[in-house]
């Protein structure tokens, strides 16, 4: 006799028994472990977390995901969240969680490690590493001198159709917020409308903007600095024809933003959670961010990676990151300009 479903059933039986075994064994889910929701990619932070585990003896489990989606998940989970620490790509998501009352105040010995402008005013979260806004350009189309010295130049007719942005990215959004804070709402709206009217090219993320500059699709793009360094590390300098220009003139285009971390209000492991955040600000971890991800260390005494211009030479606009928490107005403005 021939049974149509037999091979199927046999194929199903194997994983089923696996599955039951896995469920019985708790799926490797450890009640005692410190649970970190990380909006930063595994490739960028896994080593740091491993080092923390080894050094502290604390058992850690990490859930990697998209920063915004993890924030939505945390808000949906509320008090019952299994998470103890939230490690985010940008301050905006941390600010939203703080606003929802889900972040605990960090102890002063953690907050004190970082300059005030790189952490929340209420002490809910703290910046861990810095990233600078830069202009990426195609050196085949223009020399560094020809790259405009201010983002506001990009609305000029000579840049029509030649500028690339990733308007739905948190880094771009923080940049627009900084324009609103520094230059006022009208100037910000005028800038965004100007970009839209100037046929600005929009991309889904920073990497695609960078690639577009490499392919000559755009002349100039607005990105964060480390994307370029990562791509050079991956493919070699020769394979990455695009170059970076740091504005260094307090222009909003020279904004320095942070990735940061906070401890969940609902955690029952606040000691370990705080220990972890503090570890992120240790010399070892900061050196790792500087050397491996080419980001800016935020504590005293850790140098920037070779080849990356030091933070104190960047001359970013004077702004307190805690003031960049009016994201919804920024988004409405970006949307009204028709960029997203």
């Amino acid at each position: 006799m021939k049974h149509a479903l037999r091979p199927l059933a046999a194929a199903a039986a194997v994983p089923l028994s696996f599955g039951l075994a896995a469920c019985g064994g708790g799926s490797g889910f450890d009640e005692d472990a410190l649970v970190i929701y990380s909006g930063r990619q595994e490739a960028l932070v896994a080593d740091v977390i491993d080092d923390f585990e080894a050094e502290s003896g604390v058992d850690v489990q990490v859930r990697y995901g998209n920063t915004a989606q993890l924030a939505a998940q945390l808000i949906e989970e509320g008090e019952r969240s299994p998470a103890d620490v939230y490690f985010a790509q940008d301050g905006g998501a941390l600010g939203a969680l703080a606003k929802a009352g889900q972040l605990a105040t960090l102890p002063d010995d953690v907050l004190g490690l970082v300059e005030e402008k790189y952490r929340s005013a209420d002490g809910d979260w703290v910046g861990v590493s810095g990233r600078a806004r830069v202009m990426v350009y195609d050196p085949d189309q223009l020399s560094e001198d020809e790259v405009p010295g201010s983002v506001f130049d990009l609305t000029g007719p000579e840049w029509k159709g030649k500028v690339g942005i990733a308007p739905s990215n948190a880094s771009f959004e923080a940049f627009v917020t900084s324009i609103r804070v520094l230059e006022g709402e009208d100037k910000a709206r005028e800038f965004l409308d100007g970009l839209a009217a100037n046929d600005v090219q929009t991309f889904d993320n920073n990497i695609l903007v960078l690639n577009a500059a490499e392919d000559g699709l755009i002349s100039v793009g607005l990105i964060n600095h480390y994307y370029w360094y990562e791509q050079v590390a991956e493919e070699g300098l020769d394979a990455v024809p695009a170059r970076l220009k740091y504005l260094r003139n307090a222009d909003p285009g020279a904004l320095v933003n942070v990735a940061g971390a906070g401890v969940l209000e609902s955690t029952d492991k606040s000691a370990e959670a705080e220990q972890f955040v503090k570890y992120l600000l240790s010399k070892d971890a900061q050196t790792y961010f500087a050397e491996e991800t080419k980001e800016y260390p935020l504590i005293e005494g850790v140098p920037t990676a070779e080849g990356v211009p030091p933070l104190d030479t960047l001359n970013p606009p004077e702004i307190d990151l805690a003031d960049l928490d009016t994201l919804e107005e920024t988004l409405a403005m970006i949307q009204e300009a028709g960029l997203t």
């Binding site: 021939k2 149509a4 479903l5 091979p7 199927l8 194929a11 199903a12 994983p15 089923l16 599955g19 896995a22 469920c23 799926s27 490797g28 889910f29 990619q41 490739a43 960028l44 489990q61 990490v62 859930r63 990697y64 995901g65 998209n66 915004a68 989606q69 939505a72 998940q73 808000i75 949906e76 989970e77 019952r80 969240s81 299994p82 905006g92 939203a96 969680l97 739905s168 990215n169 948190a170 959004e173 929009t202 991309f203 889904d204 695609l208 690639n211 577009a212 392919d215 699709l217 994307y227 990562e230 791509q231 590390a233 991956e234 493919e235 070699g236 919804e328 988004l331 949307q335 997203t340």
Partner: protein, 517 residues
């Protein structure tokens, strides 16, 4: 036979209706969540967003893309299915396996491969092309199954009545495979509506953009969830449309159900062009993205490979995808059987409800299960069972469509005979109908399996903390531009995807041998 008439008058037995209702309720979970959220925040903002000109324009663009992609998939899927089941196409068994593999390639990976190779090829044409190449197996699989199942006699009658091959195809074969093709087309349309990754990379703005932007903006799940209702409404319209195309024709073969095999159409001098066309499709859909990944591996510095991680991710992927396929198919069986065997409002309602989660972006479904999991099922929250439940919500229609069309083609008289020989209605279903419909049901399970393997948003949010699948690893690597590290994961994904396809092909070979004597 009085089959149609008598079926219409029967109510499905409780033993079918109860699990089918359960399946429908599971599928409706996200909708329940949307309602809870919408009520908690009021509908004012929702109306504001929906009424915006840009929102409506984006809905239009979504529908246009879905329409064009679906048409493309129908052409490719039906054409390939015919070539690979009915003609002397060389190596058709192997090619049939290969032709289903693009399902295993996440559409965002394919999109990235195209964009990387042709930076200026973007927008609508690129999106339509890439999604067509990713989705045509949704049509190919059911149509190929239907083409093998149909009775050769009807086509022979048409030929004997003076119709040529093409007219016969149009007048006899097309109506016979129409339910299968329509079911596949529906899946394509819903996939395109809910896709975000590919279109975002290829820079074609669609409605899902509004939903994703909404998460990024407020980090508040509510507005996005409420916008999701618009997609549900579109889904209802499309499902209803597909239901209408099915018409009233019953497609079960009268009589024994043991149809003869179709004689193969000799391709002769068309062999060359046919092979060329199929090779072109497979190159574009399969070799090209895989080749791109291989190229990046060769070029990238991140190509060091952690074999342990790869094996671990592969094992987890197999586990959750197989569980997803088994549970989804098990729940799809009662729904599909009711849809195929019992006409009536209740059956239609249950079947249509099963589509509710399918057009929603994975993130909305995932958050709805976060919502329910945290509140009502905390012990399984972020454990395998809840993830499997998410796969059920997302992919139930893939299996329901397969079950429905294959059960519809199994003659009901076989169930009568089984009952007269002492089987209960469920026993007859289990011992006869599901065996006769077996290949179709198995194809549905394979479809779910492939789709679960590459699922990303729900897997990210609901997997057990610390568990990695091939899709999450692939995403993690591409997100930071480490394409060299991504390649082995993509390759393993495609390799594992070949498993069910090969398994199904192998069974067909067995049958063919049986038929040779």
């Amino acid at each position: 036979m009085t089959g149609g008439r008598r079926l219409a008058s029967r109510r499905p037995p409780a033993t079918l209706l109860a699990p089918a209702t359960l399946a429908a309720l599971v599928a409706l979970l996200p909708l329940g969540y949307l309602v809870v959220r919408a009520l908690s925040d009021g509908v004012g903002g929702f109306v504001d967003v929906v009424a915006r000109d840009r929102t409506l324009a984006l809905v239009g663009r979504s529908l246009l893309l879905a329409g064009v992609t679906t048409a493309g998939c129908l052409v490719l899927g039906v054409g390939l299915a015919y070539l690979l089941t009915r003609t002397t196409f060389p190596g058709r068994q192997l090619v049939r396996v290969l032709a289903t593999l693009p399902l295993a390639i996440p559409s965002y990976v394919a999109a990235f491969a195209w964009l990387a190779a042709f930076p200026r090829f973007d927008g609508f044409p690129a999106s339509a092309l890439v999604l067509t190449l990713c989705c045509y197996p949704y049509v190919l699989l059911p149509v190929a199954a239907a083409l093998t199942r149909t009775d050769p006699a009807t086509e022979e009658v048409a030929r004997s009545l003076g119709r040529n091959r093409w007219q016969t195809f149009r007048l006899v074969t097309v109506p016979e495979i129409r339910p299968a093709a329509a079911a596949g087309a529906l899946l394509v349309a819903l996939y395109v509506l809910s896709d975000f990754g590919a279109v975002a990379i290829l820079r074609y703005d669609v409605f899902t953009r509004v939903i994703y932007t909404s998460y990024r903006s407020s980090f508040d799940p509510t507005p996005a969830a409420v916008l999701g209702t618009l997609l549900v409404a579109l889904t209802v319209l499309i499902v209803w449309g597909e239901h209408r195309t099915r018409g009233r024709a019953g497609h079960s073969r009268l009589g024994t159900g043991s149809a003869r095999r179709h004689p193969l159409v000799p391709l002769r001098r068309w062999t060359g062009p046919a092979v060329g066309a199929v090779a072109a499709v497979l190159s574009a859909a399969l070799l090209f993205p895989l080749g791109s990944l291989a190229y990046w591996t060769a070029r990238g510095a991140s190509r060091q490979l952690d074999v342990g991680e790869l094996v671990g991710a592969g094992t987890s992927t197999l586990l959750v995808a197989a569980l997803g396929a088994v549970v989804t198919t098990a729940l799809a069986v009662p729904v599909g059987v009711i849809a195929a065997r019992y006409r009536g409002r209740l059956g239609a309602l249950v079947e249509q409800a099963s589509y509710a989660g399918h057009a929603l972006p994975g993130i909305v479904v995932a958050l709805s299960l976060v919502f329910f999991g945290v509140r009502y099922a905390y012990p399984i929250y972020q454990r395998t069972p809840l993830l499997v439940l998410a796969y059920v919500v997302l992919f139930l229609p893939l299996a329901v469509g397969a079950v429905r069309s294959s059960v519809a083609q199994a003659p009901p008289v076989l169930e009568d005979v089984a009952r007269s020989l002492g089987r209960t209605p469920l026993g007859a279903l289990r011992d006869v109908t599901l065996h006769v419909a077996g290949p179709g049901v198995a194809a549905g399970a394979a479809l779910v399996f492939l789709t679960c393997m590459k699922e990303l948003p729900a897997t990210l949010l609901l997997r057990p903390t610390g568990m990695d699948t091939l899709a999450t690893e692939l995403w993690g690597a591409t997100e930071v531009g480490e394409y060299g590290r991504a390649a082995p994961y993509a390759a393993l994904l495609v390799l594992l995807a070949a498993l069910p396809a090969v398994l199904l092909g192998w069974r067909r070979d067995q049958l063919d041998d049986g038929g040779a004597t």
